[in-house]
Subunit: 209 residues, 2 copies
Amino acid sequence: MGVQERRLREKQELRQEILDAARDLFVHEGYDNVSMRKIAEKIEYSPTTIYLYFKDKADLLDQLCEETFARLEKKSLLIDRSTSDPLEALRKGLRAYIDFGIRHPNHYKLTFMTEMQTGDDPDAFGRTRAAGQRTFDHLAGQVAQCSKLGIFQIHDVKATSQILWAAIHGITSLQIVKHRFDWVERERLIEGMLDTVLSGLGAPKAVGV
Amino acid sequence: MGVQERRLREKQELRQEILDAARDLFVHEGYDNVSMRKIAEKIEYSPTTIYLYFKDKADLLDQLCEETFARLEKKSLLIDRSTSDPLEALRKGLRAYIDFGIRHPNHYKLTFMTEMQTGDDPDAFGRTRAAGQRTFDHLAGQVAQCSKLGIFQIHDVKATSQILWAAIHGITSLQIVKHRFDWVERERLIEGMLDTVLSGLGAPKAVGV
DNA sequence: CTAGTTTAGTTAACGCTGTTCATCTGCTTT
DNA sequence: AAAGCAGATGAACAGCGTTAACTAAACTAG
């Protein structure tokens, strides 16, 4: 019965080929500027073949976003393991998030800046939402630890985590999209933001950007 | 020569009619979900007529963005005039920015969340860009005032202004794009962000979200 | 070994989209 | 009345996401 296994493997290989092509095109040209026909042309299959492996174009995006989240999550776990001080671990995690976004602007745009409009399917982008939730939960865990240890003077871990997320997303997305703006030196901007927001939560830090 | 004037007036009236229809549709259905044909149908003209008054669909949105930004600018000036405390004025201005973005997500998305690819037309979205720069300059002015009065302990007005901008942009854009995320109550999130970041700059404020 | 069924992939098509161009209409001027 | 002209349009182009019907190959059962 090795035949069925081979066929299954070939199916999965084509599936991966489609994902690779889509990621490459999405990342280099932007989701909206990539058509199903372009993806099909790249893999040298008919456009309709893609629909045998993915529900629609949004489904394709969903899978790729989940993938991106997974990479970020892995990085975060590595930082956690190698950093004992919770505040330092949190700060490094936030910093890693920003760096990741700036280093992979198109992945970031795809994942965090593309509006995922769900037609009438309530399960649309389920993978991306789940992965994003995990990433956020990880951040929330770090914030909870800082709160429990008295490093932060806060009483709402969830709200605080969302504030932190918004802060680093603000920096990251603006740096990506408004690259023609007259920015202050990037390093100073990022560290200044982290200083400001962490000290605003009560963490000991010299005031003054 | 009242005839030519009447014709000119009628032209401008139709122009305004197109803008009104486009604004209504963009705001309620989203830029991407509105076609030129839909706009044309609404004003009971042929789709091609719109091209006699606007360069293309993006031009239409550019005009609307400028228009809406003018309203934001007006609001900011009103706040300034009616608020003597500079910190309070700044805070209200930041708040107005966020509310503006959430109330006009499509205008906001175009202005601050789309990479304005100036393919062969360097003046594309010129109106919107200019309005955005004015908005930032206004913010920087407020920050400078707070710094001069010793409300903020900072030494880089420009960096601080960019941090504030990034913070409120983070909140605004995430609220727009990730509207299915499990957000904390919006009011608490926004006020929490403002508390955090302003106190992080040295402004007197009870710590603790 | 053949007949029937499943599978993988394709072709053609539908109903959209933004945009362009040649054409037509109705008013103004000569 | 004739000519000119500005404003509006119908038809068309090239592209889009997606679906339905179809073909060809491979597998399975008798």
